[in-house]
Amino acid sequence: EAGVAQSPRYKIIEKRQSVAFWCNPISGHATLYWYQQILGQGPKLLIQFQNNGVVDDSQLPKDRFSAERLKGVDSTLKIQPAKLEDSAVYLCASSRQGSSPLHFGNGTRLTVT
């Protein structure tokens, strides 16, 4: 089966600009996650979707970050406006259901200058 697809692979923007990341989960996976991994740290969960509904977004900085999962398949994560501290790898993951094994994509490395 095809894995979790993410794009772009790399993105460089200036602070105060906006950026969007895209994720296509494995077909049939109902649950989708966005993680932020700052250099030298472990990933931190930003948001979890079950189909097209949000399960948990308690660690999402909602003043600048937003995410959606239209039609319960693809998802986009947006940052507007970006700050220097948003420089990180953004990982998308999916699972067939909440307790099934997680499958991760290759992530998007964001650099904010």
Partner: protein, 115 residues
């Protein structure tokens, strides 16, 4: 809240030898899951091994095994017969039971396998 601590930022091992990576965690939960993930330069997180807290038997996956000490809240990973392809970042992770894959990760250990 749960915390996961990996006290070894970097480790190295000679090819074919054995290495142990340490992980400790803090939780008040009784039912939970522990994981070790591998992250090579491709950045994709790959599940190495999983342990259910209610199981006393330590999990084993080929060359990878864990030493799970529930009372001590310790969860170490042993890699036997290390291979060059094992070079990667390794992350320990915790998940509460019924938490829907909401993982808490440690800070990671960079492992280098030397030829």
């Amino acid at each position: 809240a749960q915390t996961v601590t990996q006290s070894q930022p970097e480790m190295s091992v000679q090819e074919a030898e054995t290495v142990t990576l340490s992980c400790t965690y803090d939780t008040s939960e009784n039912n939970y899951y522990l994981f070790w993930y591998k992250q090579p330069p491709s950045r994709q997180m790959i599940l190495v091994i999983r342990q259910e807290a209610y199981k006393q038997q330590n999990a084993t996956e080929n060359r990878f095994s864990v030493n799970f000490q529930k009372a001590a809240k310790s969860f170490s990973l042993k890699i036997s017969d290390s291979q060059l392809g094992d070079t990667a970042m390794y992350f320990c992770a915790f998940m509460r039971d019924n938490a829907g894959n909401m993982l808490t990760f440690g800070g990671g250990t960079r492992l280098m396998v030397k030829p």
